[in-house]
């Protein structure tokens, strides 16, 4: 009995020790995992530039993905697993934002699939987990200083601290959550735009900027500055001349679209679904709403050092209505022959070459309301304005990693091929196996 007990104990001990050894072996393999991507497209391998960014990381980054466990969540895991394999500095968790709304709210997450990267006590939010977005977010965290944005004030511009419907507080918060520093700037108190400014925003000025202030802006752009100007129908705020220098002309009317408008809204809230090819808007998939917008035109005969591209435009059923009073008073509008017909530009990007390496960027929206607190979270408005701001801020610093996709030649089965694909695998090969079985048994019986 005692002997049996001894044998049983030693067998149990053996099993425990073996399990422990195997767990350790697997743990080591896990922590020093190496993957070889043998697929033809190499779609399971990170880009060499991502590899460089990961190798140069000198701080830990924790990535939290807010998504449902499912196909999308699985894809995010697959991509982030590649990052974890490449760098021990990266770790990630996937959280269901419905199960933990508090955590989602803390990071300003309002959509499935968003991810927050936290490192060096800073954080940055990405809309989707792709190699392009994660690598650029890591680059953003790696930068020693945060990007600084100045919103001008003093001319009736929208205020980043105002929390009412007309304010910009939600845009300010969204930018801060994306790891940007946001400040107000009283232009008339300054001699020049602050040196640390990465972007200056003039959002919906009502009063004209003084000539001195215009010169400050002109000088800032002249040394390769980046600006975003959002206007409204009506006041030009003394910016007409400056914009024309950058190849942008302002239409005096208000955009009216009787067919592509918000449900419940009037004709003056055009829904925009057509976007250009610039990096910030290329492939943009959401509709955006521009309440009371003016249209922008690209001037003809631009010099070689100036390029103006359209970013967003209305439908071809829209037009620029000049009879503003009738539209407001009676709520009706009909297009006169003299009025410009759509598609009309609501966002233009002007880029002027200052020298071989320096380029001034000026992005102009024909509307300001679309990024106020009232409209920012409507449809894709927030994504559009943040995408455009990021495009301006990261021009020249951003890595563009296109998704590696296979370009296999699809095929259409001919009737003969269709029969071949059915008969050989489903009938002929199994029949051959059965024939082999019969032959084997006959041989056995004879022997």
């Amino acid at each position: 009995m005692a002997r049996k007990l001894l044998y049983a104990s030693s067998a149990s001990l053996f099993v425990v020790i073996l399990a422990a050894i195997l767990v350790i072996v697997y743990f080591i393999a896990s922590n020093h995992n190496v993957n070889w991507d043998l697929s033809r497209t190499g779609s399971n391998t990170l880009d060499a530039r991502t590899g460089n960014v990961l190798r140069s990381l000198d701080f830990d980054v924790d990535i939290t993905v807010f998504d449902k466990e499912g196909e999308e969540g699985r894809r995010a895991r697959e991509i982030l697993d590649l990052y974890v394999t490449e760098s021990r500095r990266i770790s990630y968790t996937v959280i269901d934002p419905d199960a933990r709304p508090g955590v989602a709210g803390k990071y300003g997450v309002d959509r499935y699939g968003q991810a927050v990267l936290v490192g060096r006590q800073r954080q940055t939010l990405v809309d989707r987990v792709t190699e392009d977005s994660i690598t650029n977010a890591l680059l953003n965290l790696k930068r020693d200083s945060r990007k600084v944005l100045y919103f001008t004030t003093g001319h009736g511009e929208r205020d980043i601290s105002r929390e009412d419907n007309q304010g910009f507080s939600q845009l300010g918060s969204a930018l801060e959550k994306d790891d940007y520093e946001v400040h107000a700037l009283v232009l008339m108190r300054e001699q020049a735009i602050p040196q640390n400014a990465d972007l200056v925003v003039v959002a919906g000025p009502v009063k004209s900027l003084l000539p001195e202030e215009q010169d400050i802006i002109r000088n800032y752009l002249g040394r390769g500055g980046r600006m975003l100007i959002a206007l409204e129908p009506g006041p030009e705020a003394g910016l007409k001349g400056l914009l024309e220098e950058y190849g942008i002309a302002l239409d005096a009317g208000i955009i009216v679209d009787r067919f592509n408008t918000m449900v419940g809204g009037d004709y003056t809230v055009p829904v925009v679904t057509t976007y250009g090819d610039a990096p910030g808007v290329k492939g943009f998939a959401y509709a955006t709403l521009f309440p009371t917008s003016r249209s922008l035109m690209i001037r003809e005969g631009l010099p070689d050092d100036l390029a103006v591209t359209w970013l967003a435009r209305t439908s071809d059923q829209s037009w620029s209505e000049s009879d503003y009073a009738t539209l407001i008073d009676e709520g009706t509008a009909t297009r006169d022959e003299s009025e410009r017909k759509g598609p009309l530009n609501v966002a233009l990007l002007a880029e002027k070459k200052i020298s071989e390496e320096i380029k001034a960027s000026l992005l102009v929206f024909g509307d300001t309301d679309f990024c106020t607190n009232a409209y920012l979270n409507v449809s894709g408005n927030k994504d559009l304005v943040l995408g455009c701001i990021k495009m301006l801020l990261h021009a020249g610093h951003k890595i563009t990693i296109d998704k590696k996709s296979a370009q296999d030649r699809p095929f259409i089965l001919t009737p003969v091929q269709n029969s071949l694909m059915f008969w050989i695998p489903v009938i002929i090969i199994p029949a051959l196996i059965l024939c082999a079985a019969v032959a084997t048994f006959r041989v056995r019986r004879r022997s």
Binding site: V15, L18, I424
Partner: protein, 253 residues
């Protein structure tokens, strides 16, 4: 060891069991293959209708589903291969004879394991004809084909070791097969459980011990050290357990 290996192979090939399961496995895989080919063909028609210029990832929409379906079949087929390995010997009383062989228990075990793996490899090799057949209409990604077959073999090997362990526990082959299937399904569904649980150490652990999670990377064309080591460790653990169980027959009397 060679003689035990050849004896096992002879038993497999001279009994109807191999032919029946190979026929079922190949026929059902053939149906999956045909379905996938027709699906891609229909998808191509749709792509042409919408005038999409880009190509498609055939590894994702054609090879992936075929190999994933094959992995499900392996879950049901391997317990049938493994069920007789020791249970039959115990039922017929030849296990004692086995202990008197001039080879160690380990070598006998490895011979049986290799015989089972040979049967599995033969069945998978027959389905390689489908990949060649694919060449008639398109060129499959051979890298993905290679890693997928390797993944299926490693996973099949892990299930086989589990089957040998179950077979060493009982004299009844049906019980051995049912026990294997039950255990394999447990190691299969833990991955699904991990999917619905929040990210915690528990869900992480379940994800790591899931048989299917490690396979998914092979099916995408990734050859990962971690995944290979998992399947090898899994096999080594259950083969060692089988060895302990066989050894216990001696001192239990």
């Amino acid at each position: 060891m060679r003689s035990v290996y050849l004896k096992e192979l002879t038993i497999y090939f001279s009994s109807p069991i191999f032919y029946v399961i190979a026929c079922i496995f190949v026929c059902i895989t053939g149906v999956f293959f045909y379905n996938s080919m027709v699906y891609v063909s229909l998808l191509t028609v749709r792509i042409a209708q919408y005038q999409v210029e880009s190509g498609v990832n055939l590894s994702e929409i054609l090879l992936g589903p075929i190999f994933a379906d094959m992995s499900m079949l392996i879950v049901f087929i391997v317990p049938i291969i493994s069920m007789r390995l020791y249970a039959e010997e115990q039922a017929q009383g030849t296990i004692e004879l086995l202990f008197t062989y001039p080879v160690s228990d380990l070598k006998v075990l490895l011979a049986k394991y290799l015989a089972g793996m040979t049967i599995l490899t033969c069945m998978l090799a027959i389905t390689a004809v489908f990949m060649v057949l694919m060449l008639v209409v398109t060129s499959p990604d051979w890298g993905v084909v290679f890693t997928s077959y390797l993944g299926l073999l490693l996973m099949g090997g892990a299930i086989l070791s589990l089957g040998i362990f179950a077979s060493s526990l009982t004299k009844n082959q049906i019980v051995a097969a049912a026990l294997t299937l039950g255990m394999v399904l447990c190691f299969w569904v833990v991955g699904w459980f991990a999917g619905v649980l929040p990210d915690t150490p528990t869900s992480g652990f379940l994800r790591e011990i899931s048989l299917v999670n490690h396979l998914s990377r092979f099916l995408k064309g990734i050859l990962g050290v971690k995944d290979i080591v998992f399947y090898i460790c899994f096999s080594v653990f259950f083969l060692s357990l089988s060895l302990r169980v066989l050894d216990s027959n001696r001192w239990r009397g």
